[in-house]
Structures are given as C-alpha cells and as structure tokens.
C-alpha cells in the first residue's frame, strides 16, 4: 500500500514557506468548498448533504482532534469524552434559554465549563492508569448523561427546547436551515484547534505528552511533571469537546440526554483509532470518513451498520496503525556511520 503519510510529509518538508502556505490554503479552500458538491457523487441519499457536513462530519472532526490530544498524544484512554460535549451543549442550552446571552458569549463559558469538568474528572482519575482510567472516564460519561436525565432544570428526558441560533456576525445570518454557514464556522473552530495542537506538539507540552505515552515512569524520573501534563491534556481535550457541544446545541436548537450516549464516545474513539492515533491529519481523515460513511450508505437501511462495522474491521486489519499513522520517519544517517 502506498505510504501516503510519508509522501505527504516528504512534499511538505521539501516545500518552502510560500509553497507551504499555498498547500495549506489549498486544503482549506477544498474543505470550505465541500458544501457545493451536493449534486455530485458525494451527495448523501436520504439525509441532507449539507446538514451531514455539519453533523456528524465537522463535529466529529472537531471532537476527534480534541480526543486525539488525550488518547493519541498522551496515551490516556478516555471512554467518556462525550461528557465534555454534553457539558458544552447543556451550558448553551441552559444559558441560551434562560439568559439573554448569545451563542458567542456562551461559547467561552461553555469551554470554561468543559475545562473545569476536565479538572474535576482529571485530578482524581489521572492518578490511575490504563484500564482503570478507562473505566472511570466511562463512568463519568454516563454520570453526566444520567444527571441530565434526572435533573429538572436540564429538562430530564425531554431535554431543552428552543435553544437560540447564533446572532449574525458581520452580516452573516445563522438560520436553522443555513447549514453551510454553520459548516464554515465549524471549519474556523477546527482550524483553531489544529493550530493549537500543532503549536503544542513541537514544544514542551508535546514532548511531555509523548514521553508520558511512551514510558510514564521514565518521564517522571526525567523531570517531567507527568500529573500536571496529563491534567492539561484532559483539560485541552475537554475544551475542544465543550466548544463542539456549544455549537451543536446552537445548531440543532434542541438537545436531550439521548444525544450524548456512550455510542458517541465510542464513535469518536473509532475516528481517532481508524484515522491514526497521534497524527492529527489521520484523525481528521478518520473522522471525515466515519462521519460521512453511515449517511452515504443510508440506502442500505438496516444493513447499514453491518457494512459500517465490516469496513472498520477490514480496515483495521489492513492498517492496524490507522489510515495515516503517527510520524515514524527519520532523516537518513550520514554515510560514514551507516
């Protein structure tokens, strides 16, 4: 199989600053133009193509980038990531319907709430490792959903209705059926998340996460404050999930506990693993495919999930490290020492 990751990385490495800018802008333009391909083979039968682009595709991409910080970079198995998505969404739902704050004002609050809950979960849970951490996070995801299901203020199983759409900015109107506007806004959030992850990856935080993932004890003995950086990974992952949640609530106008089941956590995890843990481009590709595929094959009706599962199984057998695995490249050694 052609090694797309190495090919891509090669081209990137050989390019200069201007070429790189063009490559990046090209990809952004391509992503931004996706809503115009509704009439082509990309179209999703039955489901509305542009709405699929917003949810699940763009939402999944955003969440997968966030979860990748936790799982891919730091190696912490988080099975309750949907909790942060839910916390962001309920923050929007609650504040949007009960106060006069608008979506843009609630966005930072939602992110802060998700980050805060990341600390609440992270501080006790991150003292544990591996399977134990996975179980705790799994429990946390369920707790958040069940609290929403039982708390009167959060609407119990009816959820929250009539959540306002974002007010217009610079003359851009957000209405319920203007999907492409939401899609482009999400694209901006995604670009911001990519910037954040790429920035951190090459600095101290990225190295700390890498070392924790590969050998946590060695990391701690080499002076890495492991606990602090693990909590940071949780908190940053949560912030991205929270942002996705706020936007989700403001888009669908109605949220209920059923939107935040364990299945979402598993799906986002699947995006990360399927695409290539630790490689942000792989993760994005994985999320695009796994978000898109179920709606593309919706005409299969009941056999849809069977086919979806089969694709996952086959792909993971062919490419166990994901579509675009993490970097394993290195510069060739100078001749004399080979």
């Amino acid at each position: 199989m052609i090694n797309l990751r190495d090919k891509g990385a090669d081209i990137w490495e050989r390019s200069n600053r201007i070429e790189r800018t063009f490559i990046a802008l090209g990809f952004i333009a391509l992503a931004a133009s996706l809503p115009f391909f509704g009439g082509t083979f990309l179209n999703t039968p039955i489901a509305d193509y542009e709405s699929v682009l917003v949810y699940p595709i763009a939402m999944f991409v955003l969440m997968a980038i966030g979860l990748n910080i936790v799982i891919g970079k730091s190696g912490l198995l988080d099975l309750g990531y949907v909790a942060f998505f839910a916390i962001g969404a309920y923050t929007m739902g609650l504040l949007g319907t009960r106060t006069s704050l608008n979506t843009w004002e609630i966005l930072p609050i939602g992110i802060a709430m998700a980050m805060f809950s990341g600390v609440i979960l992270g501080v006790p849970a991150l003292k544990l490792r591996g399977d134990y951490l996975a179980i705790i996070t799994l429990g946390f995801g369920e707790i958040v959903r069940i609290v929403a299901l039982n708390l009167g203020t959060l609407g119990r199983s009816e959820g929250i209705l009539n959540i306002p759409t974002p007010p217009s900015v610079f003359g851009v109107e957000y209405s319920f059926d203007s999907h492409r506007i939401y899609y482009w806004t999400l694209l901006i959030l995604i670009l911001f998340a990519i910037w954040m992850v790429r920035r951190l990856s090459v600095r101290r935080a990225g190295r700390a996460w890498e070392s924790i993932r590969q050998d946590e004890d060695a990391a701690e003995l080499m002076g890495v404050p492991t606990f602090k950086y693990k909590v940071w990974a949780f908190v940053l992952g949560a912030s991205v999930g929270g942002a996705a949640g706020v936007f989700y609530a403001s888009k669908t106008l109605f949220i209920a506990p059923d939107n935040f089941t364990l299945q979402i956590s598993i799906l986002i995890l699947a995006c990360v693993v399927f695409g290539g843990m630790g490689n942000i481009w792989g993760v994005i590709l994985g999320a695009v495919i796994l978000g898109y595929l179920p709606d593309r094959i919706r005409f299969l009706s009941d056999a849809r999930l069977l086919v979806f599962g089969l694709v996952l199984v086959i792909m993971m057998n062919l490419r166990p490290d994901g579509l675009l695995p993490r970097k394993k490249r290195e510069k060739p050694l100078p001749k004399q020492v080979q």
């Binding site: 920035r199 600095r203 590969q214």
Partner: protein
C-alpha cells in the same frame, strides 16, 4: 562530611517480609565516582530507586545537598539535581535522540504549556537554547551524529549512551548510572570508562552500578559493596578487592573452611 553531595543514613527498605536494604549508610562525595557493587539481588538498584523516589524508604534518612529528600515528588527530585539511567533501557522510542535529551532539559524550563501555545519570547528562547544544549550533550557523549534518528532504531550501544546523555540533560549534580556497560564488548567498555571519567571531569558526581569488576575498579574512586541488602565494604578499589568479606560474598565460603 561537608563535601558529601548525598548521604544515606541507616536506610532500610522493606517490601512486606523482604528486607531489600538493611540499615545501609554511605555517602557520595562531591566530584567523585563511587562504584556500587554486589552480587545479584544485593539491593543495588533498590538504592537507586530509593534515592530517586520510586520507593519511599521504611526507615532512615537520605539527604541530598544538605536537605532531606523524603516526601519529595519524583520529578522534583530530578529538578533538585539527581538523574539516572535504567538497567533495562527505557528511552522514548518514538522520539528522536535529540528529542529525548530536549525533553530532559525541559525540567528546568520556566516556560510551560501556555507560554508555548502563545509563542511567548521566553518559550522561543528556551526552545532554542535547550536544543543547542541537547546537541552539545549528544556530541559530548559521542553520539552527535545520531541526533535525528528515532531512539528505537538506534544500535544498542548508542541507546545506552543516549540514556546517559538524557540523564545529563536534566542538568544534574549527581548522576546515577545503572549498569551502563551491560552487554558491551571489551573495547566498548574501555570507551565507556573514558566517558564516565569525562562526565566526572565535567563536574558531575557519579554513582555507578556495574557488574564488570575490572571496569568498576578502574574508574571508581571508591567502592561500596552490598550483599543481601547490607553494606559489607566501603573503601578504595584495591582494598575492597582484597576484603575477605567481599570475596566471600562473591565466591562463597569453601565448605571445609566454615
């Protein structure tokens, strides 16, 4: 005693019913190479583990640089100036040799996650400074040309040396080397002995665990011998070599003599 950098006083380490270290007392003096030897299971690596905070000692005291180490978190012990290598190599395999060392230098960075994210000048400055420092250390240890190779793919001997370079990356006062010559051939051992001396001459204090007697005797200024968790000798190499208790520990006592 004023010039001792670390001192263990009556250190006892018990794991349930097993006493791994029994009332061990010794100190390492500033600028010396102290060899720590003993038969398998004597407690040598346990000494490293209690010093670096992997285990909390059952009783006794460990003072480093005049202050107690008890209750100090592991990464803070490293920050205070103790670094180690591992008996079974524990590098971060998916990172390059240089990244391994840079990660160690992060110990003393003032900039953290946020200043890195927002590209503050201090973060940029420290990144640049520590990358240069890491390359310097790789050159110092003699593996500079491997800087951009993934640690996982390095030859065994280079990995062992990289462990030392990484330990030095934390800018320690005391370096603990856990069997750095394990698996080396004789000529590599000679090179390593030179490297260890070079490390000492650069101002570090070295505590060395090693099974190769000729290497230990050659490089050490002083040797401490452990047997079944107890210190049985503490002297200059040639005295230790002729100590009957040491010979007994290593070779056993002839049956008719006991």
């Amino acid at each position: 005693m004023s010039n001792s950098i670390i001192s263990l006083k009556n250190v006892t380490m018990k794991f349930g019913g097993v006493t791994a270290l029994n009332d061990v007392t010794f100190d390492v003096k500033q600028g010396e190479i102290l060899g720590l030897i003993g038969p398998n299971g004597a407690g040598k690596t346990t000494v490293f583990n209690v010093i670096t905070g992997v285990y909390q000692i059952t009783s006794g005291a460990i003072d480093f640089d005049g202050k107690s180490l008890s209750g100090t978190k592991r990464y803070k012990i490293t920050k205070r100036g103790i670094a180690r290598t591992f008996q079974n190599i524990r590098l971060w395999g998916d990172m390059t040799a240089l990244e391994n060392v840079v990660t160690a230098t992060d110990t003393h960075k003032k900039s953290g996650l946020l200043s890195g994210l927002f590209g503050m000048p201090i973060s940029r400055k420290e990144e640049k400074r520590d990358k240069a420092r890491a390359q310097e250390l790789l050159d110092f240890i003699g593996i500079g040309e491997y800087a951009d190779r993934l640690a996982r793919n390095l030859p065994y001997g280079v990995q062992r040396r990289l462990e030392i370079a990484r330990a030095l990356g934390t800018n320690p006062k005391l370096v603990l080397l856990d069997e750095p010559a394990a698996g080396f051939n004789p000529s590599e051992k000679v090179e390593l002995a030179a490297t260890i001396r070079k490390i000492r001459d650069a101002g570090y204090t070295v505590l060395l665990i090693e099974h190769d007697m000729s290497l230990v005797m050659k490089v050490s200024d002083r040797v401490v011998v452990l047997d079944f968790g107890q210190k049985i000798a503490d002297d200059v190499p040639n005295k230790v070599q002729n100590d009957p208790r040491v010979i007994e520990a290593y070779l056993g006592v002839p049956e008719d003599a006991s």
